[in-house]
């Protein structure tokens, strides 16, 4: 290890500097400004945060929204995970892959499709009228826009909870359930007394993830025109960022909620770990094959769920290739013009190029940093390596909204007019934001891979004369390639679809990334919404392919990428 000491130290220094500059400093800036106004330090804005009725209402709405999303997501994912982890039925494998489909589009894009589909003159209303179930157009979300957000976000997020839960259920030693059966518990009682308590930490951790995610989600409420939730309130405060400490106080509040949620989830997962490592897996699980009737019921339930979950995506696809879709169930005429236009117009082409470039930059940076950090933590005895790992995991607890707001405030004021001023040129900050937000996933992918690579492979290489650097090159990296590639694919795909950073930081049209372009086009005149949908369709294709590729590389371990703690 001696010959690597200097490069390792430099690397650690660079990593700490990078995270310090692009994560810690902006956060510190946010905290500082929440406690300061032109007259100096004051706790006034934090203390009086909820004096403002608008903030009170927004906070209440956000909590309610997050709570409902968490409950609905759990109601969907829990029976699903139980079905998939304890039963076999024809078509199980392709179906479990199909369950990841809803993740391939940020819900704010599918929200556009959903709005069109459920609009007063939309397909669903028309269908109901044709079927004679309604005698006038129904305004679905007009009265209850929160409901639309809850449904959309739940449909988007249930796969993440499903993956977390499936892993938790799979980790339970089968003999623990057999012993309960053997001592007289019926299958239902076994689930209640043994399976659920043992899976509870995993379930709980997944639920906090979903809660925090929907609590901080900006895009979907924006599309539904719901202004009275905290993320949108903060978004609206971006314009007066220099002059209004109240917005900073709101950001601090969101950050504290997210951090608390993250901490609770991590705590639950750690307890879960002690539980999971107690028993050795004794027998392979014998899964119950469903009867033909059971299989049909399972298929029906899954098909319904998938249809509902994919409906918004379908409507995006329809929008992308249709000319008129108004008071009809299906569009009236079809065209490929918008699909082409999505690649041709200046705004959209720039957006695609911007997103590709920025995401690639973020991905390469993350791959390098992620591997290095994981390697340092697992393969060196460097002092403070655990602190390094903890530092790299902080972004998990920091919503994109907070990062973006911090960048705008910190870099916009200190580096005014330079390449680090997002109002002047947001490229560097967008790439940094993307990479910081995805770094934990990359570290985790590399970490999981390294833990599986037996140390003896590397010791054997050293024994046969390879230097530490050569061992990394010839043994460690090749053995890790599948994990690193899968992590990189996901990192890339989710950077392409990052919403809050992109919406807040990119302010001039030529710098727009994909998501901001879609958001802008949505409200544009002429066929703007169709072009936005076409752009969304391209994004869907890209992310779908990326997820399939990553799943093929990782198999069932794909779930590890979306876990807390």
């Amino acid at each position: 290890m001696n010959r690597l000491r200097l490069p390792v130290q430099l690397l650690v220094l660079a990593t700490v500097a990078y995270l310090g500059f692009f994560l810690i400093w902006p956060l510190a800036h946010v905290f500082e400004n929440a406690f300061r106004d032109p007259r100096g330090f004051t706790p006034f804005y934090i203390v009086n945060l909820f004096r403002n009725p608008a903030v009170r209402e927004a906070a209440r709405n956000s909590f309610l929204l997050a709570l409902l999303v968490t409950l609905l997501t759990t109601a969907i994912a829990l029976p699903l995970a139980w079905l998939f982890s304890r039963h076999t039925f024809p078509g199980k494998t392709p179906l479990s892959a199909a369950l990841l489909l809803p993740m391939i589009l940020p819900p704010f894009v599918s929200a556009v499709g959903m709005k069109i589909l459920f609009a007063r003159a939309g397909a669903i209303s028309t269908l109901l009228m044709r079927l004679g179930l309604a005698n006038q157009p129904v305004d679905w979300f007009g009265a209850q826009p929160l409901l639309g957000i809850v449904v959309l976000e739940s449909l988007h997020l249930f796969p993440i909870l499903f993956l977390n839960l499936s892993a938790a259920l799979a980790n339970i030693d089968p003999s623990l359930e057999e012993a309960a059966l053997n001592l007289g518990a019926t299958p239902g009682r076994v689930f209640r007394r043994v399976t659920l308590p043992l899976a509870a930490p995993g379930l709980f951790a997944g639920m906090t993830l979903v809660f925090v995610w929907s609590f901080t989600e900006l895009g979907t409420p924006l599309v539904f025109g719901v202004r009275r939730v905290l993320p949108v309130l903060i978004y609206d405060g971006v314009a007066e960022i220099g002059s209004n400490p109240a917005a900073y106080a709101q950001v601090v509040f969101v950050l504290l909620v997210a951090a608390l949620g993250f901490w609770i989830g991590k705590y639950a997962t750690n307890r879960h770990r002690q539980v999971a490592t107690l028993g050795r897996l004794s027998v392979s699980r014998t899964e119950v094959s469903l009867s033909p009737l059971g299989s049909i019921l399972a298929w029906l339930a899954l098909a319904t769920l998938l249809f509902v979950a994919v409906l918004p995506h379908l409507s995006i696809l329809f929008l992308a290739v249709s000319r008129r879709w108004f008071l009809t169930v299906l569009p009236e005429s079809w065209t490929l013009a918008f699909i082409r236009q999505a690649l041709d117009s200046d705004l959209t082409r720039a957006a695609l190029v911007n997103s590709l470039g920025l995401s690639l930059a973020a991905t390469f940076l993350d791959a390098a940093l992620g591997f290095s950090i994981a390697w340092i933590c697992l393969r060196t005895r460097l002092w403070g390596r655990d602190a390094l790992d903890a530092l790299a995991m902080i972004p998990l607890a920091v919503p994109g909204l907070v990062v973006a707001f911090g960048y705008l405030g910190a870099f916009g004021s200190v580096f005014r007019g330079s390449l680090l001023d997002p109002r002047h040129n947001p490229y560097i900050l967008l790439a940094a934001g993307y990479s910081i937000r995805r770094l934990p996933y990359m570290v985790r992918a590399a970490h999981a891979g390294l833990e599986q690579v037996s140390l003896t492979y590397e010791e054997a290489a050293a024994n046969l004369g390879a230097s530490p650097w050569r061992i990394v090159q010839r043994i460690t990296l090749p053995l890790l390639s599948a994990n690193l590639l899968a992590g990189a694919i996901l990192c890339f795909a989710f950077s392409m679809l990052e919403v809050s950073d992109s919406l807040i930081l990119a302010q001039a049209e030529r710098f727009y990334p994909l998501t901001k372009a879609i958001y802008t086009l949505m409200d544009a005149l002429e066929n703007g919404v169709n072009v936005a949908a076409a752009l969304g369709a391209w994004a869907m294709l890209l992310l779908g392919a990326a997820l399939l590729w990553a799943t093929a590389l990782l198999g069932r371990r794909i779930g590890q990428m979306f876990r807390t703690g």
Partner: protein
Amino acid sequence: MTPHAISVQNLSRRFGTVVALDNVSLDIQAGELFFLLGPSGCGKTTLLRILAGLEKADSGRILFEGHDIANRPPHERGAPMVFQNYALWPHLTVAENIAFGLVERRISRSEITRRVQEALALVELKGLGDRRPGQLSGGQQQRVVLARALVLNPRIVLLDEPLSNLDAKLRHEMREEIGALHARTDITFVYVTHDQTEALSLADRMAVMSNGRILGLGTPADLYHRPPNPFCASFLGEANLFPLRFDGSLPSGPVVISTPFGSWYATAVAPLSRTALCMIRPEHLRPEEVESPPQPAGRANRLEARIVHSRMMGSLLFLQMEAAEIRLHAVVLNRPEAVRALQTGRTLPWFVSPDETILLPDHTP
């Protein structure tokens, strides 16, 4: 006639192309400590899991005390199992683990408390009820699993390799303890193991299994001294085995047969024709210089063997010998006069008594 505690009739089970159980039939008496012994993959664990209802048989009947229970789900079998890896629930305390089955049987809370305390006392874990299983040592966890089964006052307890996760010293202690626990109750124990020492030292009766079939059934002494086939002979301990050919056939029981060492008196375990395997346990070969043959001397079988190799292992001497081009092992008590007499390279007279000279069929069915 009282029905058998467990009766297994023509049980078969396949996993794909692998035959785990091949038409197995077996009766276990009430109160017996019965062993299923065999190498890994012989079907013993499958049989146990079928008894517990955790696995289904393809065909055959299982009777508990005369009642067919083949279609009963596991939670209605009333045959608690001691799992190989303990299967103690990590989210419950020791006392809650033990109480689990009682709770399922809707027993009053006060009685549950009382019986759990009794069970803890029975396995000498008094005062540890509030611990988590993870805070106990391997041996203590093993006791909790036993208590969790015994607290139900079952008619049958199933044990799946209960000692395989313990170190050698603990294994020995727990083996004695399981034997003592069984002796104190009238519960039928069905005990699966691959360790012949466990089975030979504890079993009332045992079944030796291989490839999904029962190849030997009887008391440990019977099976050890009069194994019905070569598999049982070598699985239950060291055995000198050499083939013999003869004309005609032999009845079972005492016979005279010609061997490379001359005409011998032997005991046939079954009627034989034309071929047989002669089995002599190493400890039954005795050197004449150390131990004089019993009277009348004419009844003992004699041979001259050259010592090729000798090794002292604590209380015993292990010898490799050659006689008439047959390799033989012998085990002799490690006494000074034996060490003096049994020098490598010496050729010495040895003897075996006729009921320790066993003739078996030369193939396992």
